[in-house]
């Protein structure tokens, strides 16, 4: 299936570079026009020469502005998860041939989201480096995958007379968790253990043991005194909650709609994780037995984010 020439010319190609005069460029042309009038009227050949020199510079500036963007691509990108309503962070690695300098490449989203684009433009220089990381953020409203459509690379360097730009799509997508919504009490239906309702209270239970600190443990439980004695990072473990399994059940809030339920579960997941307690989650289609740690939390949050969205994204 070969594409016709017309198709090839008209499709918006990856990285195709467009160029057009800026406002300053139009201003410069006006200046050139005035200089030409001056030269003609005073029959002054040196003024003619200056006018032509500036015109030449303008033409050369087209090439420079264009070449400032040639070869600049987004090598790779990754995204950081966030909660709905927050800004999802994207890291774009802008790359180019190291031999050439690229200055003031402005990176921004293609303005489709009606956001104030001015403060979402980041300008980077690629001098003596072949890659530079740029952080861009995108506001989110709903949970699920946040997939930015396209990134615009744009530059007016060196003279600001022309603006050249190109569009690049990126493959990174950010996971957006439901926004946490607090609820005072965990409903009594919290699970198979049947320990009854649990009110929100700070965990000041009996200290049971010290465990070597591992990534994912709550920093709140670090035994600083032990650390200060130079014995390394340890976390305090509390015995009393160990056997107390908490279940966060989707069906626990019959009065709330789906999103609110997910938000509440999310809130409790975060809270319980912070307190380093054991918790399980029960969603209509899946359940996670009580556990703790980063991986557990991560799994649940992702499931909450994508709940009911199917696999279409």
């Amino acid at each position: 299936m070969k594409l016709s020439l017309f198709d090839r010319l008209t499709q918006q190609r990856q990285g195709k570079i467009y160029i057009f005069p800026t406002k300053a460029g139009w201003g410069f042309m006006l200046l050139l026009f005035l200089l030409l009038i001056l030269s003609i009227n005073f029959e002054n050949n040196l003024a003619f020469a200056l006018t032509f020199l500036l015109s030449g510079i303008m033409v050369v500036a087209i090439l420079h502005t264009y070449s400032n963007l040639v070869g600049v691509t987004i090598d790779r990108s990754n995204a950081q998860a966030c909660f709905a309503g927050e800004e999802a962070g994207f890291t774009l690695f802008i790359g180019a041939n190291k031999e050439r300098e690229h200055q003031q490449i402005q990176v921004s989203w293609v303005n489709r989201y009606q956001i104030n684009s001015v403060d979402r433009v980041v300008a980077v220089d690629l001098i003596d480096s072949s890659q530079v990381a740029v952080e861009l953020s995108l506001p989110t409203r709903r949970r699920g995958w946040c997939t930015p459509t396209k990134v615009k690379l744009q530059t007016v360097f060196p003279l600001g007379l022309f603006r050249s730009w190109s569009y690049h799509s990126i493959s990174a997508k950010a996971l957006v968790y439901p926004s946490p919504v607090s609820s005072q009490n965990l409903p009594a239906t919290s699970g198979a253990g049947g320990q009854g309702g649990l009110t929100e209270q700070s965990g000041s239970d009996d200290f049971s043991e010290l465990k070597r600190f591992e990534a994912g443990m709550s920093p709140q439980h670090i035994a600083w005194k032990v650390y200060a004695r130079g014995q390394g990072l340890h976390a305090k473990r509390f015995a009393s909650r160990q056997d107390l399994d908490i279940w966060l059940d989707y069906d626990a809030w019959p009065e709330a709609d789906q999103e609110l339920r997910l938000s509440r579960i999310c809130y409790w997941v975060l809270k319980l994780h912070r307190e380093d307690r054991c918790y399980g989650v029960r969603l209509p289609d899946r359940e996670w037995p009580p556990s703790r740690g980063d991986h557990h939390r991560q799994q649940i949050l992702q499931a909450l984010a994508l709940f009911g969205l199917g696999s279409r994204q």
Partner: protein, 657 residues
Amino acid sequence: MKRTQTGVDKISRSAVIWQLIACVAVVLPLFSWLPAWVLLLGLGCIGARLMIHSGRWSFPHWSIRLVLVVAVGAGLLMTFNRDASLNAMVALLTVGLSLKLLEIYRRRDALVLLYVALFVAASVFLFEQGILVAIYMLFAVLLVIAALVSVWQDPLREEMLRPLKHAWRLLLPAFPLMLVLFFIFPRIGPLWSVELDRSSARTGLSESMSPGDISRLTRSDELAFRAVFEGAPPAPAERYWRALVLSAFDGREWTPGASSSVVEELNVIGESIQYEIVQERSNQRWLFALDVPMLAPQQARLTSPRTLLGHAEVSQRIQYSVESARQYQLGAELTSDQLDFFSRIPANSNPRSQALARQWFDEADKDVSGLINRIFRHFNETFVYTLEPQPLGRHSVDDFLFQTQQGFCEHFASATAVLLRSVGVPSRIVTGYQGGEWNASQNYLTLRQYDAHAWVEVWLEGQGWVRIDPTTAVAPERIEMSAEQLFSGQAGFLADSPFTSRIGRQGWLLQARMQYDSLNFAWQRWVLNYHHQQQNLLQDWLGDLTPWKMILVLLIPASLILGFISWRLFGRRTIQDPIERQLHKLFFKLEKQGLYRQPDETLKRFSQRLEQTHPELAMILMPVANTYETLHYLPVDQAHQRKILMDCINQALKQLK
């Protein structure tokens, strides 16, 4: 690598310095044309901006700025008295630049500043057009462009030289483009008339001649005109450049007198000579021609005694070609009225001279040439040729002949003409220039004010007007040598240009001066006055001028230059690694089918993606992807694996056909 939010439209600190440099560079050549207070204001603003820059002062409050603007506006009104002259315009622009300097910290301000600076740069050429100024302005423009680059660079960047390098890379290729445009851009006349606000002081010869007028001119070495010859110039003794013919005498002063509209008839004998004259601004109407012009150039008409009178005052350098007869018969047939006019002198003036003339005429048996010889002999005996003769009284010729006996060419010419007229021989004074400095490298004669001269034309029966030069009788070397060689020892010579002109009169200094002069002249002819040459030059080079040809002449060099720059800028993207090069070909082939690899997609992921839509292509690509990954991520024999990969890619390329 630096990174910034561009939300704040600030310019870098080094850019502020660049703005200052650019403004100073552009205003500097206008130094002598601007009122002193404008220069002081500029200096003050630069100083203030530097104080702000170093953080010792803060930006001026709006009330201070308002006061400044009002004060400066009033100052301009007072200085220029509301006349909209060029000086006033440039002063206004300079003042604007200075005040704007105070408040630049955003891009917008800087852009306004630099655009105005470029306009000021162009207006410098309305005042100064020398070759050195032009070269200087080229650098000034380079600095302005550097300032413009610095405005658009990273606001955190501090290096000063980077914008300059970039500006150089922009300006260098623009230069040939400029030459092409300069060469072919059609020069049309002014769209509306403009007054060049230059000094309107008249220079050079004046319209009348009284004793001391010509010798006064020797105080100056100002350029009068240059004459370009195709071949050899006329011999020094033949270099008489006519400007004015003075026919009326009032006892002391010679004036042109009533002019007739009939041009005296000219019979050319032998060869004529063609040359081109580039005349400096004199604010007078007459043009110059070698004795004696055959036709008037376009800018002038012939007067009755065959001098050239311009249609307008020569208020800027002009260029014209003239053809002159070297041997001729001029005005052979004059009416008795005319003969009477040319032999008229006030009856009661210079009585002793008139008596002397009559006596000599009788002694010579009424032979005019005998009388002329007698007069010349008399001059030769006791007279002194000097630049600083004593002042003469009312009967100037009597005083000169019988008392002072010293004078310059106008004294001798005037006395000769009076003596001749006393006995009824028609004669007249011609003023102009004599001689000139020959510049062999460019084939031109330079005539300066000190070459000014006056001589006599006498009308002889059957021969018409004949040039006689009484100066040859007293100082023949004046005609053979150049004026400056002759006078260089005398006190009054070049009294108005005391230092500069005295050096370099001989030896290698003279050589260097001649070289510089010819350079300057070439500059004037080919650059400043190019519009005079353009039409002919283009026709010589291109034949008939059609719009199509003009467009081609513009486009071909322009595209060559731009092509070269493009090649320099992005032509060198050849991939060194042969494997990468082949891979590139492979991707290119896929792209032609509308399949693009995402920039962050590995070869493997790409072929996996293709599997879903184009399984047959994925089949071809998959082995390449696998070997590629093996090469890069597994510890294998590199050279061997590269060879395998190469084969793999070539295979795929073949299959893709």
